[in-house]
Symmetry: C2
Subunit: 309 residues, 2 copies
Amino acid sequence: MIYAKDNADFKARRLRAVKEDLNSGASTLARKTLEDMIDFADCCVAADTRELVEELEDLVQKLLTARPSIQAVRNALLRWSDCLESLPEDDLKAARQEAQTAAKEVIQELKAAQKGAVRACVDELKDGMTLMTLSTSSGVMALFEACHLHGIQIQAIITESRPGMEGRKLARFLSKLDIPTQFISEAQMAYFVPQADKVIVGADSLLRDGSLVNKAGSKLLALAARDSGVPFWVLAESFKHSLIPAEDVTLEEMSEDELQLEPLSSVTVRNIYFDLVPARLITAWVDEQGVRVEFRSLAEMPRGRLLGR
Amino acid sequence: MIYAKDNADFKARRLRAVKEDLNSGASTLARKTLEDMIDFADCCVAADTRELVEELEDLVQKLLTARPSIQAVRNALLRWSDCLESLPEDDLKAARQEAQTAAKEVIQELKAAQKGAVRACVDELKDGMTLMTLSTSSGVMALFEACHLHGIQIQAIITESRPGMEGRKLARFLSKLDIPTQFISEAQMAYFVPQADKVIVGADSLLRDGSLVNKAGSKLLALAARDSGVPFWVLAESFKHSLIPAEDVTLEEMSEDELQLEPLSSVTVRNIYFDLVPARLITAWVDEQGVRVEFRSLAEMPRGRLLGR
């Protein structure tokens, strides 16, 4: 009984951490959940492989529903959980080892997929371009870093990303790379977008019809970009692809405390963290296969390549 | 000499107050500047009417350039300053009195114009409607109050209006009126606009081609409303009309401190307070003459009616 409680405590702690992590981008959060699985495969209290698999599967199931707007977390976990079917039944130690190795491999795949998408994107950039983005995405950060490493002189326009203010993290990152950056509130996006040569955002999920789930404000930025004739690009490696239809997607709502309004009768504070950007507002989709300017339904793609489930 | 310094101090204080007043809507600020003229007409150090007029004109000239994005301030001051031409030359006391009376009259005209525009707008509202707005405008507040007084049951969706957060003032006002209200960040506007029957915003200036100068974020809201098929109405009594062409308008930029980012090399904080919403995104213009769904150039209107200069 004491053993089961240890496992339950571990799972509850990890689940809470994932739910409360509102500042990590989707790829970063996917990597973190896999690192959680590595830790749990190591420390999980289990008498044999069967018990280990049961416990690991239980945590996977819980994590799968923890952040419904972020497909990369789901895809990374589902891909990893395939390994649970073939762990050595009679050797618990080896089973723990194999589960950990499999998670490390998926982390490598995540990194490679993002790297491939960044490479495809950086090939399209030129000296003197101004890129605009909102919130923070590890893919977009990697893109800025790649520009810096390849000596491509770009400028940036970024938003603070109220209420989480993760745009400040991106501002500090761009400052270290010495990239000339304008830092604005979300409200100023329509004013600034005509100065950009391209808008490039990351993705929390890319849906089967090519529509995008990303940080709140993304649809406003896409509308402003379209109105000003500025291309709107999505950097979304295949780990972010989802087969969920747009009408079934869950846009997570977070605590109303983040908007810091005192309690007022008849007033409800809303804090929906994500936006749904319809495919018609997107100019190009970039993944590790390259840049696509037309989006065929994900459902039509070969399943081998498609990680989305 | 000491007298001149008194006047200079008064003028510098009032000018600073107007420049630093970032939370008042355009109509409120216009009224406040006229109240400043009432005070100055009373306390201005002057030996005769000629000196009084010189001092008053000097303050008017300074205030005219203090808030270039807010036409109501300019129009109110220009309208009032007409009285300076006919103040009694040989009676300083009577001159002070007349200047004050003239300012009070313009304040009444401001109020009557806003009241007329609100009345025209409230006639178009029905029980059960949801109105969406951003920032805070005394006209839109008066509209909500009129709905309350006439027993029209409406709901509201409002934004916090970062960085000034004047949306909180509106939330408290709507709570007192017991109007069911959803309070959101600017980034969520595209998600919430489909729930609205109408977007109604105030105006800092309405330009000769029907385009609107209003709080940052207004163009994003207009784009989102257009994309979702929600009408976008502007409540702008004639005191807000301007003959400035859109290409010559100044969108004021305020202190970067308001965005609370620490100093970072290569990063520039931008804080442009206003947006320019092109006429093509506006569905209806409401002033004290009624609701117009097509906008003829202000330049073609009879000058008698037009307060804009």
